[in-house]
Subunit: 429 residues, 2 copies
């Protein structure tokens, strides 16, 4: 099976109109996707995208167009071919200069790699998480780019981790299909929401079965204290409330601000400072213990995650499905997290990130960590209606995707309506 054509679409949703998704660094995002469709010579399609928050989505589309030449004519039928594609997309010697392995070009690689995995899983007739679970430890290890990792994790250690998880895989697959995977919700906590809305949505979340919610913080300390107090009173002491500063602070400020919220019992502080600041996160974590530290949605590649783990910078690793170079790089990150004993609690929300990342967490449970302890996937209840196989939550848990593929496909009507800048949703505004 060979890929014969690549479509690239600039899809944007005008979410800034309702302040959904507002936080201390992102006051008015328009959730967007640089969206790609791979066409194979057998008529199959592979869908993928990278997520942005508006302006610059066109630059990601241009980058995907440039990288498409590495995809056309490629066979993606099986993990070895996908590993080869991933290498070619991230190691073109000239394009590599623009990173390496970060920023726009890496986001573009993510869209294409994920689309290729979608295609491979569809051909296998399996949802991606289950397709990944059929691969042997050797096949998984061969999917990874080991360059720059071996001081923290060797291929041999990764093989040992995967082999240790082999017993019980079938049972865990059945468990995921029956019970799903725990979620937490960020829907109550956007910074643009007033206190009444925060309290109402927090109560609703608990009533729906969530045991963890998240609040945005970092713009104004008095506001944060008032909102956090109200939310804590609303849900009681038994519900975990994480807080998220979206990179707003320097190191000292992160420590002081978080301590000023400690009385409300934060479960973790997320993105207290720059996502690049491995040593800053390590200092913050050491000074804030026992309050936990989480980061990852903006961490740009496996080399950075490696260091966050080596330096003891984080209690929770928040992988993103489409910022690093897609499935392949995330396999490395799952194995690194397992080696260092750090639970993976993926970033989601935006548009389509919930649909994607639950596949990776479910694979993690089945084949890597074999644990759900302290592991939750973020959930935000926006924009799922645009997907052909949207995320299903029941009782605060992600239900296992059953459709073949990576759940990345948007409905044709949505792709037309939200096409930027000429689709009807944008033309009329």
């Amino acid at each position: 099976m060979t890929i014969t054509a690549v479509d690239v679409l600039d899809i944007r949703f005008p979410t800034s109109r309702g302040l959904d998704g507002s936080d201390a660094m992102n006051p008015d995002p328009d959730y967007s996707a640089a969206y790609v469709v791979l066409h194979a010579d057998d008529g199959q399609e592979g869908h993928g995208f990278t997520f942005t928050i508006g302006r610059g989505n066109d630059i990601c589309c241009a980058a995907i167009e440039t990288l498409s030449e590495y995809v056309i004519g490629t066979d993606v039928d099986g993990p070895a071919a996908l590993a080869d594609l991933y290498q070619r997309l991230t190691h073109d010697s000239q394009i590599r200069w623009l990173g390496p392995e970060k920023g726009v070009m890496h986001l573009a690689a993510a869209a294409l790699v994920n689309a290729a995995w979608d295609l491979a899983a569809r051909r296998a007739g399996l949802p991606l998480w289950k397709y990944l679970s059929t691969l042997t430890p050797e096949q998984i290890v061969a999917c990874i780019d080991w360059r720059y990792l071996t001081d923290a994790l060797t291929p041999e250690e990764a093989l040992a981790i995967l082999r240790e998880a082999e017993p019980g895989k079938a049972q865990r697959v059945a468990e995921v299909e029956r019970d799903g995977y725990p979620a937490y919700t960020t829907s109550p906590g956007w910074l643009g929401y007033d206190d009444e809305k925060v309290v109402r949505l927090a109560r609703e979340a608990v009533a729906e079965g969530y045991t963890q919610i998240k609040l945005k913080v970092g713009a104004d300390l008095d506001d944060d204290r008032r909102r956090f107090a109200a939310a804590r009173t609303a849900v009681g002491p038994g519900i975990r409330i994480a807080i998220d500063a979206n990179q707003r602070w320097d190191v000292d400020q992160a420590v002081e601000w978080t301590k000023a919220l400690a009385e409300f019992d934060p479960w973790w502080i997320e993105e207290p400072t720059s996502p690049d600041d491995v040593l800053g996160h390590a200092a913050i974590r050491a000074r804030l213990a026992p309050i936990k530290v989480a980061t990852g949605e903006h961490v740009h590649n496996r080399v950075m995650f490696k260091q966050l783990l080596q330096a003891g910078s984080i209690d929770f690793l928040q992988m993103d499905a489409a910022r690093v170079a897609g499935v392949n790089e995330n396999l490395a990150i799952l194995l690194l997290a397992k080696k260092f004993g750090v639970p993976v609690c993926p970033h989601a929300g935006g548009v389509g990130l919930c649909e994607l990342v639950c596949h990776l967490s479910m694979f993690d449970y089945v084949s890597v960590s074999a644990s759900m302890e302290d592991r939750v996937i973020e959930y935000v209840d926006h924009l799922h209606e645009h997907f052909t196989a949207p995320t299903v939550i029941k009782g605060g848990r992600y239900q296992a995707p059953t459709e073949p593929g990576f759940s990345a496909e948007m409905k044709r009507d949505s792709l037309i309506r939200f096409s930027y800048p000429h689709g009807p949703e944008w033309r009329s505004n």
Copy 2:
């Protein structure tokens, strides 16, 4: 003075045809510039660019186009206005998602920030290095984005550094104008050159007055040993020979390979591993001492340089004029290096990087470090003929630029001839 228009040009030189610039990770670069011209309402122009090695240069041009909306209508007459522009170019809340502050969008910001400084220095009638030297410590400190830096360097500490350097500034300006600034040359050491060419060029470099040269390594150890031995024999023990692996190795491999070259007395090992790997560089440096470690040409922002200094990862800091967001971010990096006592030995070469970065080193000497000890600027003798005020080297030293501006302007004929893909140089091949 207000900017009324921005021209963006995709300029590429077919350097891959001669294997100039070849190294272990970049076998066939086509040195390129995403080039920008700012037009002001008084008829003045500001020129700037970011450097790439070919494919993807168009993506940088598209990114510059997107960021141009933050430049049109802007006043850039003076450091406060330039600081404001720098903030707007790097902190658009939606575009920031594509980094933050890394990759294509950051390269694009560099081109625009540098062009704005070129315009400001032209208006002041001074070469940039001298224009910067006229600014007060308070003005310099106000040029910097302090977010994420204060755990390593505070604005107050930066002020103290700059004030300490105030005495003797006029004398150092005169010294730079008379004697220039030390250079080293990479021209002998490209990986695609045969031994005879390496030896011949190394001897020529010493005859021209250079006291340091650099060789590319990392593709094949036997080749490296043979080439290094030949070069060492050719130049004798008194000449410093740096070696450069261009990110080829993992940590253990970097240590082993460099030790296998130790008998030829390398002055530094440059880019032994991923530019993102702060902890990896620290481990390599600790295990290789007293061999020194250098990196920086791919280090993407001030937060990464901060950590390289905090972790003791480097002996030499190799700033690049156009990878971080131009002059403003490099001011922060110069001050960080001074605080940690690490000499800045800038990356140059490519196209136009020599022209740009010598301004920053000369400013560093005049106003920040007040020292040239162990400081050298890289020099490569390619493509200078395309600039209106090209770098001048005498006796192995950069001569101080005298033309007003940042020396970024390419000749009109070159801009036409090497325009990609429709310029005559590309159309005929």
